[in-house]
């Protein structure tokens, strides 16, 4: 019952802080234009405060119920990701800043020794990689943080992704009887759900880098400490593919705003079309609109469908 309280508090805290963040950010003028809507309305940003507040409170309660250091390592990694994102929200940093700074998010897991260096491959077994696992922790957190950050180009995508991708982890943790991490997964789900209410199309708030990096690193840290790295990778495949397409076409680590040729163009009727420029980066969205232009809500629906599909593959992997 008390565990349920931690989950509910996480949900309610995110909900309340999001409502207040919208008001405070509006009053402060901390807003950015919603690029794909008529008149480009100004939307408050960043909503990362609400996400980290809900997650932190839920995890602190969970720690005092379990006294499990794993919970503290997830909390500290998420806090570091939030700070990294917050700095990027306030000052426009270079493209290499986020991947480099996110390396520090791996420190709590490494220093508190809350990982298991056996890498489990579904259907095959596990391999013991004591030396290789340390860089793998860093790689997972950097990739997960940045992929969730990169996929969040449209209303509601990052929070929807977290809701959907949490489900395979919850199923796997339940089947493994790993209850402490199961509650931590529910806290992520609760916070994502509460934020999604305001982030969904049409958005009332944007998470900003502080929000998306917190989501991604929390998810990665949870996957590492619970030994579900491969299941987590499968669940996040559309987001990983997006980053992979972008990096393999641009061939360097760079911020989206530094790219001269955009992957998509906004038409007069507010549909989004694929760029005809051969030098424009390839992204998931560019491939979604490559045959015909789509409205923003249609693209959001398709990305969510891809997330559901990859999460179903992850669930299938757990069950077979």
């Amino acid at each position: 019952m008390l565990y349920l309280l931690a989950i509910i508090i996480s949900f309610v805290t995110t909900l309340i802080v999001t409502i207040y963040s919208i008001k405070i950010l509006r009053a402060k003028g901390s807003m950015v234009p919603d690029q794909f809507k008529k008149g480009k309305p100004m939307i408050p940003r960043p909503g990362g405060y609400a996400i980290i507040a809900g997650i932190s409170l839920g995890l602190i309660i969970l720690y005092f119920l379990t006294y499990n250091l794993v919970i503290i390592s997830i909390l500290l990694s998420s806090l570091i990701a939030f700070i990294v994102g917050y700095i990027d929200d306030k000052n426009v940093m270079k493209g290499y800043y986020k991947p480099l700074a996110l390396i520090t998010a791996a420190l709590p897991i490494i220093l508190l020794n809350t990982y298991d260096y056996n890498l489990d491959f579904p259907l095959a077994g596990s391999v013991r990689i004591p030396i290789l696992y340390l860089p793998l922790i860093v790689i997972i957190l950097v990739i997960f943080g940045n992929t969730i950050n990169s996929i969040d180009v449209f209303n509601g995508v990052a929070s929807a992704f977290m809701i959907i991708s949490s489900i395979p982890l919850i199923i796997a943790l339940y089947l493994n009887n790993d209850y402490d991490n199961l509650y931590a997964a529910f806290i992520l789900l609760a916070s994502s759900l509460a934020f999604f209410i305001f982030h969904r199309y049409p958005s009332k708030i944007f998470p900003g880098d502080s929000g998306t990096l917190t989501f991604g690193v929390y998810y990665g840290a949870l996957a590492i400490v619970s030994g579900l790295e491969i299941i987590a990778v499968i669940s996040l495949l559309p987001a990983i593919i997006n980053s992979f397409f972008f990096l393999s076409s641009v061939k360097r680590i760079v911020e989206h705003r530094e790219i001269k040729s955009r992957p998509t163009v906004l038409l007069d009727d507010y549909r989004i079309a694929a760029s005809k420029d051969v030098n424009a980066p390839i992204t998931l969205v560019r491939l979604l609109v490559i045959k015909k232009p789509l409205y923003e809500y249609q693209i959001v629906k398709r990305i969510i469908l891809l997330a559901i599909f990859s999460s179903m593959l992850a669930i299938l992997t757990i069950l077979i």
Binding site: F121, A124, V233, L237, I241, L287, T317
Partner: protein, 68 residues
């Protein structure tokens, strides 16, 4: 959309095959020198990852050439 669903499925299959090869073939390699053994396993795993990435890039490029 269909291409992306196909692409995700292929990637999923490659992950499962990669895991199978890692656990059942690469992990079972045994050399007299343990240091050399670890390095060889890591090099093979990295080479496999590069091969997998190459497959994904080729698939993506074939699709884009057909469409554009």
């Amino acid at each position: 959309m269909l291409f992306l669903l196909f692409y995700i499925t292929i990637l999923w299959v490659l992950i499962l095959i990669g895991g199978f090869i890692m656990v059942n073939i690469i992990a079972k390699i045994e050399l007299a020198n343990k240091y050399l053994e670890s390095i060889s396993k890591a090099v093979i795993a990295i080479a496999m990852s590069i091969a997998w990435i190459a497959i994904m890039v080729i698939l993506r490029n074939i699709y884009i050439k057909r469409i554009m």
